[in-house]
């Protein structure tokens, strides 16, 4: 997304008179030209910037302290803060992989697997359904509405629905499995099966967005391309790989990047369905566990996890965008 937006920047800039003007004149001209834009952007910068930059700065500061529920300033009780700066100790503890600090590397690996599997299914199923929907047929609008529906359901309602379906004793899924003679696992128990369950739920939740975005992408591919290819005798598979996939590239690159970012931080699905289950623990849910539960409410470690999550995603986005750009240059 970012890669593709940056192109058109230069074309609208008129060559302004350079040199010979004094500084104030330049500032005036600058404001004359751009003040509308800045006025339109200002509210967002104030709101988003204020509510993101300041907390982030404070959160980063917390990672260098031993702050927790017991020593944070509490205005309600009139208590002063008395936490200490501990340097890099939090990072060293977390990165050592110590189970007392959440076995960082194992959880990171699980988070990567979780994101990879979920986004692969989101994209694959979303693309398949978009291809099916992108043709004239009866009931097309009805199918589309029904298929987008999971997106419109509030997350905690879907979580409730799936917990009910996955229930080991009276859930419909085990009843179905049992009635055809298959084993009926305890889906949401303390075992790796729980991970399969939350992946199923998250795939169900995430497909509609991909499908809608890819459907829009398919509709923006000019139909003549397909006709020309057909006249040239291209097989359906060739048309798919030579026209459809390249035509979807701008959409695909955007939604895959967003999908990975969103899935990586997909907290509600896991937390609402399996709670604090070490078998479904990903980085964000562990941060939240440290944050909200336990006697101590360890804000410092939770913030450290937050900063590490942000770092991993920034590295990923950087590599991803660079790879896109170099592919485009080919």
């Amino acid at each position: 997304m970012v890669a593709t937006t940056t192109g058109a920047a230069a074309e609208h800039r008129r060559p302004g008179p350079r040199g010979g003007t004094e500084r104030r004149g330049r500032v005036r001209r600058f404001l004359d030209r751009y003040w509308y834009a800045y006025a339109l952007v200002l509210p967002v910068v104030v709101v988003v910037g204020g509510l993101v930059i300041l907390p982030l700065a404070q959160g980063v500061f917390f990672t260098f302290t031993n702050i927790n529920e017991g020593n944070i300033a509490n205005p309600v009780l009139g208590r002063e803060a008395d936490y200490d700066v501990v340097g890099l100790a939090n990072y060293l503890n977390v990165l050592s992989g110590d189970p007392a600090y959440g076995s960082f590397w194992g959880v990171l690996l699980r988070t990567l697997v979780w994101s990879g599997i979920c986004v692969a299914f989101h994209y694959g199923i979303g693309l398949g359904l978009a291809l099916l929907l992108n043709r004239p047929m009866r009931f097309r609008t009805l199918y589309r509405i029904l298929l987008i529906l999971p997106w419109a359901v509030p997350a905690f309602v879907s979580a409730f629905a799936w917990r009910y379906l996955f229930n080991a004793d009276y859930g419909l899924i085990n009843w179905l499995l049992g009635s055809v003679g298959l084993p009926t696992p305890v889906w949401l128990g303390q075992s790796p099966v729980a991970m399969v369950a939350v992946i199923i739920v998250n795939v169900w939740l995430g497909v509609p967005f991909m499908m809608v975005a890819l459907l829009g992408g398919l509709q923006s591919i000019p139909g003549d391309l397909y006709e020309a290819a057909e006249i040239d005798g291209a097989t359906p598979w060739q048309r798919f790989t030579q026209i459809t996939l390249p035509g979807l590239r701008p959409v695909s690159s955007t939604v895959i990047l967003l999908g990975v970012i969103w899935t990586f931080n997909m907290f509600p699905v896991i937390y609402l369905i399996t709670g604090q289950n070490p078998h479904t623990r990903i980085l964000i849910t562990y941060a939240f566990e440290r944050f909200f539960s336990g006697a101590t409410r360890d804000y410092a470690i939770a913030s450290t996890y937050g900063v590490l999550i942000l770092s991993v995603l920034l590295v990923f986005a950087g590599v991803y965008l660079r790879a896109l750009r170099s592919q485009e240059a080919d």
Partner: protein
């Protein structure tokens, strides 16, 4: 045409069928019965999977709690409207107050987020001002934030602004999560509107704000609808922030928070939980139905050109 070509022969536009078809590739625009059956079968199965969990909650919501946990499930089992009646009567918490709070908060978030995203999206789309690209990249980075762990700093900030515990503070927080993606979508949408329209508006003596307000916003209505939908859904079902930033009094909870408490206290009351879930899902479904015809075009513009 064999079944495998079902995968790709989709682009049969209105002109596709009329053209004399090249000999080998057969009935473009007219599917064989087998292909047609396969297409509809696949879509029916997918639709069933998409709808079924919600449908099953609906079925359960009419059953008494004791019938909702039977080992061999049935569609109707002593079903009645009792669960709904009891919830709406307030036996399980101040449901109507929660409902009103949620509507207010989600509504304000929607209006504010769409306004912010529209003005920013328009500015980034039309004026190449220094910092515009940086702003878009910043929005991408904001999406990476593990917001859950920023709750303490946000709490402190809202406290010092005097917004802690109020709906206004929560609305602002929701806006920061909804605005970045909304801005991307709307920027893409504005990019698709020809610049000549802006220029014509300026010729007629409109200020840049006038162009934005009188010309661009009405033209971008599908994009605005999708953006509004996204913002509404973001705010409507959110639990973590709402439980941290609203006061603990029962009357000031949102639906999501209230039901979360309800779930934790009444793990066995599946029938009542189902009924409450359906009541929560209805407003979201209404909003969804109002905007669904814009979803494809609105979202597509954003992600293609974003």
């Amino acid at each position: 045409m064999d079944v495998t070509s079902l995968q790709t022969s989709g682009r049969a536009g209105p002109s596709g069928g009329r053209r004399p078809a090249p000999p080998r590739s057969g009935h473009r625009g007219r599917r064989s019965p087998a292909a047609s059956f396969g297409l509809h079968a696949a879509l029916v199965v997918a639709s069933l999977i998409a709808v079924f969990p919600v449908f099953w909650v609906l079925v359960t919501s009419f059953k008494p709690d004791s019938r909702a946990i039977e080992a061999s499930p049935s569609l109707i089992n002593e079903s009645s409207l009792d669960n709904y009646a009891r919830i709406l009567a307030g036996e399980k918490g101040d449901f109507l107050a929660w409902f009103g709070n949620s509507l207010l908060i989600a509504g304000l978030t929607t209006v504010l987020a769409v306004m912010l995203a529209a003005s920013t999206g328009y500015a980034v789309s039309r004026f190449n001002f220094p910092g515009g690209r940086g702003l878009l990249f910043f929005f991408l980075v904001v999406q990476m934030f593990p917001f859950a762990v920023l709750i303490v700093p946000l709490y402190n900030l809202l406290l010092s602004l005097g917004l802690q515990g109020s709906a206004g503070g929560l609305v602002l927080v929701y806006c920061t999560t909804a605005v970045p993606f909304c801005t991307y979508m709307l920027k893409g949408y504005f990019d698709g509107i020809p610049r000549e329209i802006d220029e014509a508006g300026r010729m007629d003596g409109l200020s840049p704000f006038g162009v934005f307000w009188r010309l661009m916003l009405p033209l971008a209505r599908p994009g605005l609808a999708v953006t509004g939908f996204y913002a509404f859904i973001t705010a409507w079902g959110e639990v973590a922030f709402a439980s941290a930033f609203l006061s603990a009094a029962d009357q000031s909870k949102t639906l999501a928070v209230g039901l979360q408490v309800f779930v934790q206290q009444n793990r066995t009351e599946w029938g009542h939980l189902a009924a409450a879930s359906i009541l929560v899902a209805i407003p979201a479904a209404v909003v969804f139905y109002l905007v669904q015809r814009f979803l494809v075009s609105g979202l597509a513009a954003g992600s293609v050109k974003g």
